[in-house]
C-alpha cells in the first residue's frame, strides 16, 4: 500500500459468450480496460454486467472467448489464482473473524509474516479511514464501515486489478455520495485497474474514466461519461443515462423536421433513415423574448412540478408528444411560470440538437 502507484494491468476481453439455456447472458463481448483505468459496467438488472464481472473474477465460466490480464491468458484460471481484489455487493466479510482477521486473511494465505501482516493490515485500515478498528467484530460495524473493511481487504494484498460489484448499493444516499468521491480518490492514489459494476447512472457518471453501457449481454457504448451523456450512440443509452424524450425526425430534402419544426442544427447527423431528436429536460427552455437561432416548439403546459432546487414542466406538442423542461429555481421563479393549459414556446439551442439512431441499436 505504498503511495507510489503500482504497475496496473490492462484487461483484454475478446469474444466472451455465456448462455443460460437459450438466453445470452453475454453475447460475444469484447472490451479493453486500459491499465490503471476506472471503468464502469453500467446497465439495468439482467443486462449481463454482473455476469461479465464474474467472468473476470473467475466465478462464472463462459462458453467461449478469451480474457487476458496484461499478456497472460486467464480464462481457465481458477478464481484463487487470479490475484485480483474484489468488493462484493453484500461485502462478504467473514463473520467469524475480526476486522483484522478479515483484512489479514489474504496476507495469511500468501504466507506473510505476522509482524508484517499486522502493519500492512493497519495501513490498509488507515487507507479506508478505519485505523484502530482491527479488534472489532464484523457485527459491530455499521454498513459504511463494513464497506470500508471489504475495500481494505481487497486492496491489502496489492492486487493490480480491483473489481467492485455494486459496492455502494446498500448504503444510504448521503453516505453513498461521500463514498463515491472517496473511492475515486482511492483509485487515484492506488492506481489499480478498476472495473466497477453499477445500475446507478449517476454513480457511473461521477466515478468513471469510461463507462461501458451493457444491455442484453452486449456493450451498447463504451465512452467517457461526457461523451455518453452528450452524444449517446443509440436510443437505449440515451434513455438509460439521464432523462430524455425523443422526437421522430423526418428528412425533407436537405432539411430535417421534428414535430413539424425544421431543425437548425450544428451537430453531426448519423447516416441513417431512422433518426430521433433527443431532448434533455435541462437543455430545453421556456422562450423569453427573442429566440435568436434556437429552434422553437409550440406546446401547452400539461403538468408543473415543484422539486425544490428546480422545477419540472411537462408540455404537450401539437402532435401529442410530451416534453419536459427543467429549470433552476430562485425565489419567485415558480410564481412566474405559466399555469396548466397555457400555450408556451419551448426553445432548443442548435448545439443541443442531439440526433441519434432510432431503434434499440
Amino acid at each position: 500500500m505504498s503511495d507510489v502507484k503500482q504497475d496496473a494491468l490492462p484487461i483484454t476481453v475478446r469474444g466472451v459468450t455465456k448462455t443460460y439455456g437459450k438466453v445470452f447472458a453475454l453475447d460475444d463481448v469484447s472490451l479493453d480496460v486500459r491499465s490503471g483505468e476506472f471503468l464502469t459496467l453500467l446497465g439495468p438488472s439482467g443486462s449481463g454486467k454482473t455476469t461479465l464481472l464474474m467472468v473476470l473474477a473467475g466465478f462464472t465460466r463462459p462458453d467461449r472467448g478469451s480474457l487476458k490480464f496484461g499478456e497472460t491468458e486467464m480464462i481457465r484460471k481458477p478464481p484463487h489464482l487470479r490475484d485480483l481484489g474484489m468488493v462484493f455487493q453484500n461485502y462478504a466479510l467473514f463473520p467469524h473473524m475480526t476486522v483484522a482477521g478479515n483484512v489479514g486473511y489474504p496476507l495469511k494465505l500468501r504466507g506473510v509474516s505476522k509482524t508484517e501482516m499486522a502493519s500492512r493490515v493497519e495501513r490498509a485500515l488507515e487507507t479506508v479511514q478505519l485505523g484502530g478498528y482491527g479488534d472489532r467484530g464484523i457485527e459491530q460495524l455499521s454498513g459504511g464501515q463494513k464497506q470500508r473493511v471489504a475495500l481494505a481487504r481487497s486492496i491489502v494484498f496489492e492486487p493490480r486489478i480491483l473489481l467492485m460489484d455494486e459496492p455502494l448499493s446498500a448504503l444510504d444516499k448521503k453516505l453513498r455520495d461521500r463514498m463515491q468521491i472517496e473511492l475515486r480518490h482511492l483509485h487515484e492514489k492506488l492506481g489499480m485497474t478498476t472495473v466497477y459494476v453499477t445500475h446507478d447512472q449517476r454513480e457511473a457518471l461521477t466515478m468513471s474514466d469510461r463507462i461501458a453501457v451493457v444491455n442484453h449481454g452486449r456493450i451498447m457504448q463504451l465512452a467517457t461519461p461526457q461523451e455518453l451523456y452528450e452524444q449517446p450512440a443509440n436510443k437505449f443509452v440515451a434513455d438509460f443515462i439521464g432523462d430524455s424524450t425523443f422526437l421522430e425526425v423526418t428528412r425533407q430534402g436537405d432539411t430535417y423536421v421534428a414535430a413539424g419544426v425544421p431543425l437548425r442544427t450544428n451537430r453531426k447527423i448519423p447516416d441513417t433513415r431512422d433518426l430521433l431528436l433527443m431532448l434533455r429536460p435541462e437543455r430545453v427552455s421556456l422562450l423569453e423574448g427573442d429566440p435568436g437561432e434556437a429552434n422553437v416548439f409550440d406546446a401547452t403546459v400539461s403538468e408543473l412540478v415543484y422539486q425544490g432546487e428546480s422545477f419540472l414542466l411537462y408540455a404537450r406538442l401539437q402532435d401529442g408528444t410530451e416534453l419536459s423542461v427543467r429549470g433552476a429555481m430562485r425565489a419567485g421563479t415558480f410564481q412566474t411560470l405559466p399555469s396548466l393549459g397555457d400555450p408556451v414556446k419551448l426553445t432548443l439551442d442548435p448545439a443541443d440538437t442531439v440526433l441519434i439512431e432510432g431503434g434499440e441499436g
Binding site: G58, H80, A92, P106, L109, F157
Partner: protein
C-alpha cells in the same frame, strides 16, 4: 380557546386510558392463546417430574430415605452402566458426525431441488416406526442375516461376524436412528452460509480446500454443535434400539430403569435413576450453553 384546550386535554387522557387497556387486553389474549400449551406443560411435565423427585426419596419400606441414591454410589454395576451410557452416546454422536457432516455438506452444495429430494430420503426413516427399523436391523445383522450372507458370498469374510446382540449392533442401530437429528441442523446451518463467503475466500487466494477449512467449516460449527448435542442427549435416554440390538450385553441407564420396575418393582430406585439421568442431561446442556447459544439448536444457521 381555553375551552377547546380543556376538551382536547380530556380527550387525550381518555385516549391514553383506552390505549393502555387495549394493550392489557392484547397481552391477555396472547396469554389465552398459549394457555392450553401451558396447561399441558404443567400437567404432563412439571407434576410428573416433581412426583419423580418425590418417589426417588422413598425407600423400600415406604418412608423417606436416601437409599436409592446411596445404592448408585456404592454398587459398582451402576457406575459401569453410566459409563456405558456415556460411551455409547459419545460413539454414536461421533459416528453420526463422521457420516452426517459430509452428507450434509454434499446436500448443501446441490441445487435446492435436488437437495430437497435428498432431504426427503434422509427424513424417510422418520416416518417409519422405530420398532420396525430396529427389528429390520436385527434381521439384517443376525448370524444368517443378509449382511453376513452377502459378506461371505463376496468373500469379504469367512466366518459370520457378530454384528448384533453386542456393541456393534447397538451402535449401528443407534447411528441409523440418530442420523437425521444430526443432519438436519447441520444442513440448515450450512444452507444459511452465504456462498459469497466462499467466493470471497477464493478471490482472496484460498484454494477450495483452504477456503473450506478456514471459512466454511468454522461457519458450520454452530449447526454441527447443535446437532451433536441433540444426538448426544437423545442417546443418553435411548431405550428401544439398544435394548433390542444390544441383546442384554450393552446395558444403558434407560434399560436399568426398566428392569428396576419390571423385575424388582422398585419404583424408588427407578425414579432415582431417572432423576440422575435428568440432572446429567441438564449438566450437559449447561456446559454446552457456555460454548454456544442454545437457540441455534432449534434455529440452526450460521449467525
Amino acid at each position: 380557546m381555553a375551552v377547546t384546550s380543556i376538551d382536547t386535554g380530556m380527550a387525550e387522557r381518555s385516549n391514553a386510558r383506552g390505549l393502555r387497556s387495549d394493550e392489557r387486553l392484547e397481552r391477555w389474549r396472547l396469554f389465552g392463546l398459549s394457555s392450553p400449551a401451558l396447561l399441558i406443560v404443567l400437567v404432563i411435565l412439571l407434576i410428573p417430574t416433581g412426583w419423580l423427585f418425590f418417589v426417588s426419596f422413598i425407600g423400600a419400606d415406604g418412608s423417606y430415605s436416601l437409599e436409592n441414591y446411596e445404592r448408585m454410589i456404592t454398587r459398582r454395576s451402576y457406575a459401569r452402566i453410566f459409563q456405558t451410557t456415556f460411551q455409547v452416546s459419545l460413539l454414536t454422536t461421533g459416528l453420526c458426525i463422521l457420516i452426517g457432516y459430509p452428507l450434509a455438506y454434499f446436500m448443501s452444495q446441490l441445487p435446492t431441488r435436488w437437495a430437497n429430494l435428498c432431504l426427503i430420503t434422509v427424513l424417510l426413516p422418520f416416518w417409519t416406526s422405530l420398532l420396525v427399523r430396529t427389528y429390520a436391523w436385527l434381521v439384517l445383522l443376525q448370524r444368517q442375516g443378509l449382511v453376513n450372507e452377502w459378506g461371505m458370498t463376496l468373500g469379504l469374510w469367512q466366518e459370520p461376524l457378530r454384528l448384533v446382540h453386542n456393541m456393534n449392533g447397538t451402535l449401528i442401530g443407534m447411528v441409523h436412528i440418530m442420523l437425521p437429528f444430526l443432519i438436519l441442523p447441520v444442513y440448515g446451518g450450512m444452507r444459511a452460509i452465504d456462498r459469497d463467503y466462499l467466493k470471497a475466500a477464493a478471490n482472496l487466494g484460498a484454494s477450495p480446500a483452504r477456503a473450506f477449512w478456514t471459512v466454511f467449516f468454522p461457519l458450520s460449527t454452530p449447526g454441527l454443535f447443535a446437532g451433536a448435542l441433540m444426538v448426544f442427549i437423545l442417546c443418553l435416554g435411548f431405550f428401544v434400539t439398544p435394548a433390542i440390538l444390544g441383546g442384554g450385553r450393552v446395558i444403558l441407564v434407560s434399560m436399568q430403569i426398566v428392569s428396576n420396575i419390571e423385575l424388582f418393582v422398585n419404583w424408588g430406585a427407578a425414579s432415582a435413576l431417572g432423576v440422575v439421568l435428568l440432572v446429567l442431561t441438564m449438566m450437559v446442556l449447561w456446559i454446552a450453553s457456555r460454548f454456544v447459544r442454545l437457540e441455534q439448536m432449534t434455529g440452526g444457521g450460521a449467525r
